[in-house]
Amino acid sequence: MNKLIIDGAEYQAQDDQTILDVCRQNGIEIPTLCYHPAMEPYGACRLCTVEVIRHGWSNLHTACTHPAWDGLEVKTQSPAVYDVRRTLMGLFLSRCPHVPVIQNLARQYGVTEPPFATDDPDQKCILCGLCVRVCNDLVKANVINFSDRGIDRQVGPPFLEKTRDCIGCGACTIVCPTGAIDIVLEEAGVYAEKPLGPTAAIYVPSLQAVPRVPVIDTDSCIRFRQQDRSNGKIADACGVCQTLCEANAIDFDQQDEILDLTVGSVIVATGFEMWDPKKLSQYSYGRSPHIITGMEFERLSNAGGPTGGQILLSDGSKPKRVAIIHCVGSRDHNAHAYCSRICCMYSLKHAHLVRDKTGAEVYEFYMDMRAFGKGYEEFYERVQEEGVTMVRGRGAVVDVLPNGKLRVKGEDADLGKLLAVDVDMVVLSTAIEAPHDADKISALFGLGRTADGWFAEAHPKLRPVETNTDGVFLAGCAQGPKDVPDTVAHAGAASAAVLGLLDRGEVVIAPTVAEVNRDDCVGCGDCLLVCPYTAITRVEGKAQINAALCKGCGTCVATCPSGAIMALHFTDDQIVAQIDGVLAWA
């Protein structure tokens, strides 16, 4: 452990640390331009200059390259340091008079006007070499470098010509301290922007993600994009996240793992999927970037979203008129006959957000307003008071006009008139539906499904979280459309049902099981063949039923040629008595 004195106080340092590292670690501010923590220090800009006193000799050194040796004394604010930085900022400002970062730094050192004549007032590059290093050392695309010497020195691709070797990762634009590099998306080979997607290759899926850990989008990650598809080997490129992660949590070799768990009960909470509005062409979804679904609106208005939560059109301007169409794909015999239940309220929320964030006029096309929950009707009233125009009637058609505007037509049933509104943005409050793979889940757990596709509960009123398969429960939208409060209540009930089983530690099984009369059994074994639960075995030449395994379907009873099996509570005598009874009475 090295000890050194910085601005009069003592600090400890590791052997491999630089003076800058120690200062940053301890909150001592040192300005830098060419330094980036993910790359080797380079010492190009000299802005991090500090005064280093060793064995009584004082010298000026760049903090980013100077090792934090034992016994050093460092002054980061001395007059000599200030002088050097002031001179440097004068030079930088003369080179790049219009770059805000440079202007601000220069002002900190008392320089407000360029002290020297400026060659090119549009110059933004300070030749710090960060872009060159990131491209060559980290990304390993080797596309940009320095060319020429002295005052002609510049950065760029070979011969300053466009090159197809650029992978369009954008790393150079991100590290450039002065914003001197622009990425122009113009050719194939450069990945198209994802307008509503994440903005970096590593991101936390959503602010409320559980667990709240970042994931790597392997389609955009520089390292994965250069993966050798033939053998799956990942390129040895970039890895900035790994370099910077102090918890050392980045593992590029991580693979999906399949765990085998033995459990006593299962809660199926597979939720919903969004119905695809392309299925009904009158909504023109996909024909304009400004026709979006409610889910896309959620992403747009999310503070973690692509616009930082602002509601903007694709050209970056705020919409002046927005239409919100309810029941898209719901209550419609061409799509889903049922009411999706949540969309009225989220549409009102969206209307409120548009009013609040943009002040745009909002036209809300609805058939009935289903403000069913506690406080919901009050919210409906509030949104009306906020000036949202409510049009009672289904938004029937959305047309994309030649000028890019959108025309929503529908009937205003209150006025008994057809209506057409030209708007800048249309939000389709699309239906929710059972996940596309619900049939697999239902086969896996033996779950029934109601006609609308959602999983069936054991009883619509009395057993809303149970299913007809013992130990399997439902929670949330898996059982049918629900908003968050209802989902939470339903899930709470499902958990309580599971805890009840755990607490008891034993299961109660129905008494409707089959029993063999050993005297009548001839040991033919037909019952063994039909039992779906392998509950029957042959013991000493006769059938024997394991009551814990038997579920009481009675198939063996009907199969047994000797009539040796009895289904308790559904005996032949009982059923026959019923048959005779109903017929005698009818």
Partner: protein, 139 residues
């Protein structure tokens, strides 16, 4: 015009699908014919040929056997047995002089309340047009 013949129909229903479907039809206030006399069993696989014959003997003019759709049986494969049994039984009915149309095997899931109503109505109509079983057997 005499009083129209009202058939008696025994309907065996499995507990998990058809019985629940019938229940849902009732909850939804859908009307199914009162000719249909329900007998609940745990699975359509529980219904033996003897029971169907017993129903005819005890005075039923038609018998409906109803269960879960194939693949949906609560006990996985109970209804696979019914699929094999009931056609055989229909052949047998013909040999004893009973119109095999008087026995029908069909599937109604818990979600298919409207189907329950439709199936019971159309079967009742069919049996009504076939006339009483006693007449047929007497002939």
């Amino acid at each position: 015009m005499g009083v129209e013949f009202e058939p008696k129909i025994v309907a065996f229903m499995c507990n998990w699908c058809t019985y629940a479907g019938a229940d849902n039809a009732g909850v939804a206030r859908m009307e199914s014919p009162s000719n249909v006399l329900p007998i609940r069993v745990m699975c359509s696989g529980r219904i033996s040929p003897e029971m169907v014959m017993r129903a005819f003997r005890a005075g039923a003019d038609g018998v409906l056997v109803m269960g879960c759709h194939i693949g949906d049986c609560h006990y996985s494969t109970g209804n696979h047995r019914s699929v094999k049994r009931m056609p055989l039984l229909r052949n047998l009915l013909a040999t004893v002089g009973v119109n095999p149309e008087r026995l029908e095997l069909t599937w109604v899931s818990a979600a298919e309340a409207p189907r329950f109503v439709q199936v019971t109505h159309s079967f009742t109509d069919k049996i009504r047009s076939l006339g009483p079983l006693s007449q047929e057997v007497a002939e």
